[in-house]
Symmetry: C2
Subunit: 287 residues, 2 copies
């Protein structure tokens, strides 16, 4: 396993940590890898993938958070767009952990032009990481990622920013407990990366507007002392929060899903459309 | 230590768990306690406190999340309104933990009529729990509690509810990772209790409207591809999230604050007004 990073010292750190075997200084020096994984900022994925494919890489995949723009710009039979649904607010080799992807869903978004063997190869990689491959078309992925990752990130940042702009913000923050910390934790992520994600995801602005309007509606219900409306809003939030808390999730090694590493998956080389159908094909718990 | 609960079996469970020594069936049977702690739903605090004071309780305090309405309705020298800034989404004796309040701030909101010895007594209780007393007037508390607890709760519920109302909500939820779970965790709290809190807090509707408008503004910045505005929004959220993550918080026994149980506190019997000033008096880290 060879690695390359914009900052050579980071690649060296990855080698010292055992994440890679050798490190090189440039993408060219990687030569013709059997399988290349791109984890650059989103706006460099397409160029990097193209270079790798041109210099003879057999299969190339990426781990970017938004897929539609990438899939539209890069139609190549050796490219399989991907997105592991796990991570942390940290970055660089020092934030790496060997169990990062264990039990996580890992979305793959091949197109009708993707070679079946390329998808099979990336799928094998996902299984090796202990993750569960889910084949979804790029737009379905982006809509789902907005709802469970990008909207929550923006909401967390907004809750934090609201305290920050209060004249007594620092004093108020001294009273914060574990709830505030948990809600705002993901807002520690890199603003540059999240700006790029926000601009790239074609579904985010619409969903965020819905969220903002929902919250203004809740403010209205409070002002109107409309207990029924408030209670039904809180109940609908509770149902979802309880569902997700009950499921086994990445980073909970004591409750790994029993499907780990051997989940039945959709037909190779065929991108499903329609999230519910795709998930029903991919995941036993949806049947 | 005697306990009473609407449901007698819950009081018995608390006794079996060692949280209380004896349990009785009614508030009357408590007689004339030296110190009574009320942990009822918010709308029953005032009536319960009044009954206890009438039957001869020397000092009465409560743990409700909103203080202005209570302090306005119950001006009695033996009553000290309180709010520990710690808890969980669980309820009842089975969710109790001995270290729940260790390292947490615990707001006390006496009035100009409160007996100094009553405040001193409740303060002693707070120290015994390992918490740090912070004297704040009721309205200042409510404004701060809206920002760090009640707004985050509503935002978490909205993020969860948004997924819930999507036709493919359950399928989308299958892709959720630790970030979504952390952001929505507090939304598992009891909808009835949170409806009462929302209606009681006079600052919540206004702050929630600000949050909703901020989020709609972020949606607009994304639609306009305004990278500078997005980045500065995300940066302001990151600053606050990083500050709160860096502080020692309740339920992190390995990093208890060094001030635990012996924090210098404000002058007895005097409610401070102006949050920053009050906190500067109460907490060493603000000096």
């Amino acid at each position: 396993v060879s690695g390359v990073d914009r900052v050579y010292e980071r690649a060296q750190l990855a080698r010292r940590l055992g994440a890679i075997d050798t490190c090189v200084a440039t993408v060219d020096q990687l030569g013709r890898p059997d399988l290349a994984i791109i984890a650059t900022p989103p706006d460099q994925v397409v160029d990097t993938a193209r270079r790798l494919l041109e210099q003879g890489a057999r299969v190339v995949t990426d781990v970017g958070s938004v897929k539609a723009g990438i899939v539209d710009s890069l139609v190549h039979p050796g490219f399989v767009a991907g997105h592991p649904m796990a991570g942390s607010e940290g970055s660089g080799p020092a934030s790496a952990r060997p169990d990062m992807f264990v039990g996580a869903k890992w979305v793959l978004s091949p197109t009708s032009r993707t070679f079946p063997h390329a998808l099979a190869e990336v799928r094998r990689l996902v299984h090796m990481m202990g993750a569960i491959p889910v084949v979804l078309d790029a737009r379905t992925h982006d809509e789902a990622a907005a709802a469970i990752s990008h909207v929550p990130h923006m909401a967390a940042a907004a809750v934090a920013a609201l305290v920050g702009r209060h004249p007594d913000g620092d004093a108020i923050l001294e009273l914060a407990g574990g709830g505030f910390r948990d809600v705002t934790r993901i807002a520690k992520g890199d603003p540059g990366m999240w700006t790029a994600i926000a601009i790239d995801n074609p579904y985010l602005a619409g969903q965020l507007r819905d969220l903002g309007e929902m919250i203004c509606g809740v403010a209205g219900a409070i002002a109107d002392r409309d207990r029924d409306r408030l209670r039904s809003f809180l109940e609908s939030g509770r149902v979802v929060a309880t569902k997700v808390a009950a499921r086994a999730l990445p980073h909970e090694p004591t409750v790994l899903p029993s499907t780990n590493g051997r989940a039945p998956v959709g037909a190779d080389g065929e991108a499903e459309s329609g999230l519910a159908r795709a998930m029903a094909t991919s995941m036993p718990s949806m049947r």
